[in-house]
Subunit: 460 residues, 2 copies
Amino acid sequence: MNKLLDTFSDIKVSTNPEDLICYSFDASGIEASPSAIVWPNNTEDVVKIMKYTHDNSIPVVPRGAGTGTTAGAVPLKGAIILSFEKMKKILDIDPENLNVLCEPGVINGKLQRELEWKGLFYPPDPASMNFCTIGGNVAENAGGPRAIKYGVTRDYVMEIEAVLPNGELIKTGVKTAKGVVGYDLARLFVGSEGTLAVFTKIRLKILPLPEEVITLLAIFQNLESAGDAVSRIISSKIIPRTLEFMDREAILAVENFKPVGLPEDAEAILLIEMDGHPAAIKKEAEKTLEICEHLGADIKMAEDEYARNNLWASRRAVSPALYHIKPAKISEDIVVPRNRITEMLKRLRKLSEESRIKIVNFGHAGDGNIHVNIMVDKNIKDEYEKGLMLVKEVFSHTLSLGGTISGEHGIGLTKAPYIEMELSKTESNIMRAIKKVFDPKNILNPGKIFPDNCTGQQKP
Amino acid sequence: MNKLLDTFSDIKVSTNPEDLICYSFDASGIEASPSAIVWPNNTEDVVKIMKYTHDNSIPVVPRGAGTGTTAGAVPLKGAIILSFEKMKKILDIDPENLNVLCEPGVINGKLQRELEWKGLFYPPDPASMNFCTIGGNVAENAGGPRAIKYGVTRDYVMEIEAVLPNGELIKTGVKTAKGVVGYDLARLFVGSEGTLAVFTKIRLKILPLPEEVITLLAIFQNLESAGDAVSRIISSKIIPRTLEFMDREAILAVENFKPVGLPEDAEAILLIEMDGHPAAIKKEAEKTLEICEHLGADIKMAEDEYARNNLWASRRAVSPALYHIKPAKISEDIVVPRNRITEMLKRLRKLSEESRIKIVNFGHAGDGNIHVNIMVDKNIKDEYEKGLMLVKEVFSHTLSLGGTISGEHGIGLTKAPYIEMELSKTESNIMRAIKKVFDPKNILNPGKIFPDNCTGQQKP
């Protein structure tokens, strides 16, 4: 890689062992050492680097903040890491045309704050929003609690400037609200997990900031009632901006780790938020309250920032609480049609009882998107293997209920062994052929999404 | 084609000359005779037909209602027409999961009415909604006036069952609100103009029906003020559900054809509609009124169905009025960033003055989507050729303002000669390679989108 260092005198390149270690893993916990890290400053740098790596058949892995949970940014095959830490400018906020142009390294939360300050709003809010980058969000089609009302990253991407694996620069999508000129390459790039092209600029649609927010916390004595509440709220023509869920195990984990005062006999909680015009959301909140109370829930309501933060405290504490119990747990993000949530949660409980492995569930009930946490230790071989068997069963139940094995985490490396449980051979062959159109040398994030040459949850 | 007739004893096939004539053109006015028309009854029939046409290398053109304006459904190369008139069932309306499963031949307007009756809402509303089909809407990524607030067809497609050119059946996308498993083939199909796969079932996202609607008609004495009003409304954090525009020529055409009482000195009108909670839209309407009045507009407001229909009368009369003047006009659907509308309209006026060809403009100002009508007669060679020269200039101005040459009509045959004004060689090569992945024999709607073997606006 010394040649690489020499080639790009104006681009920061490192092969220091400490850098190689820092960039060898992401939030999946899987590790593989890159052969170098390169930090481009601008589009031209990315073009230069990609031309060089193409000519020399060197694999490349684009990386945002490494917050992905399916090992999308883990460099296989001695790839070099293309890190976007220096390309983090918000290039243009356009309130008249309601869009924003970003470099891929912009932090989602930073963008949110800049926009809110101007009365504008970028809805996708993944849990890692204070760290994760817009480039990574687009690559993974990131979601978040607000997806139930506002959709996912895909719904906000207008235009992408990207560099192909051979170093060619393309601009796809449009600056305008509409456009149908040829196939939708911009949308094909969304969720492509860094396997088709490297993004260098992204234009996102934005919205006016909603006027007001009301937050409700509903505590249920049984699971069915919580599931019923989700269906009934939506059937009542209310689309909350979040409809978050935690099961009994998640509540206990939080109360043990950082007590927020949830009753010990609670079986499930829903955290429900409405946004919009004050009169409109007041009416929605009243109706929601009525539905939940009718189902036996105990309700708390918050209309200001301070009270809201208190209600969110439990939901925000779940992830840290679970890492506290098992730092190396298996975490999945299945989705079922929202009226099948209760059924899915019952099946998860049964699987847990049968296998004697604790399963903790929380997530975005409004979307049917459940974060299923299988509480095994990846570092204990026996336990881990039992966990993996359970993953397969979880996926199989999910699919039988009309669901999907990934709502917002993507496939990466960890779910690649399971992708053909969901996709037919024909579909996956078409996807592979599309990959080949963009990357015939298979040098852009190789080994991801498709099960060839990857070892799934195992360390590669 | 007699063999075709024999092969499918249970599927209606016709080679009657009168049928061949009826299916030889669409709303583009371009004609080419098919060699037969086939009416499948269900998915299995489509699979059978596609296997047969693939084995015998017979080109196939899927067709909804033939309302497309870019000749997408016109059969080139003696293709057979696959007509979806018998596959028009709404298979399932699911209010709990907020989606609807349709066969491709379902009429958009019929779906709208069925849903509204249940308090549900499918926003995309192309002008031809009372005739056009959901299958065609997905193939063209149809828009409509409500796109400014609610987006286009793409934003509502969840899952597509489709038959590939070789007869293989695939199911792509998900039943759930979220899903990131492999590349987004469902979205790649949206706007692919019947060139990648034939749709047999489509699952669409739906919404609760908005509670109330307020309609405003604003009449402006000058073009700039109307353009400014569009920008200021959006900058004031108001997203109307429609923000429609008509220029002076369009107003005159309507008043001559079917007078609705618009003042003769009006330079432009905006038709603005808000929907949602009564208190919320009342406030939005007041603010909009203030903005328009401040810019010198004369305003009419409607809060009930009858008054609303009166305000819409002028906008609805534009298309028939223009066909009355020149039945064979050239009609384009460019888009510019919404704050460039005034500039674009000024350039269009200048082009019209210089060429001495009348250009009439109306459309979806809120999206920057202008329907540019070049009032020439396609049947008079000289006039038509001058019109075509003008099309090229219109596109070139559109692109220089950061726009796109098609907002909702697609490329089809009529815009194919211009597609490379917008797409780079690299982009169009990738799209062609993707076409090849799906259709290596080039038998599904051949000659569309990509400029090879097509003669654009000329009769093929």
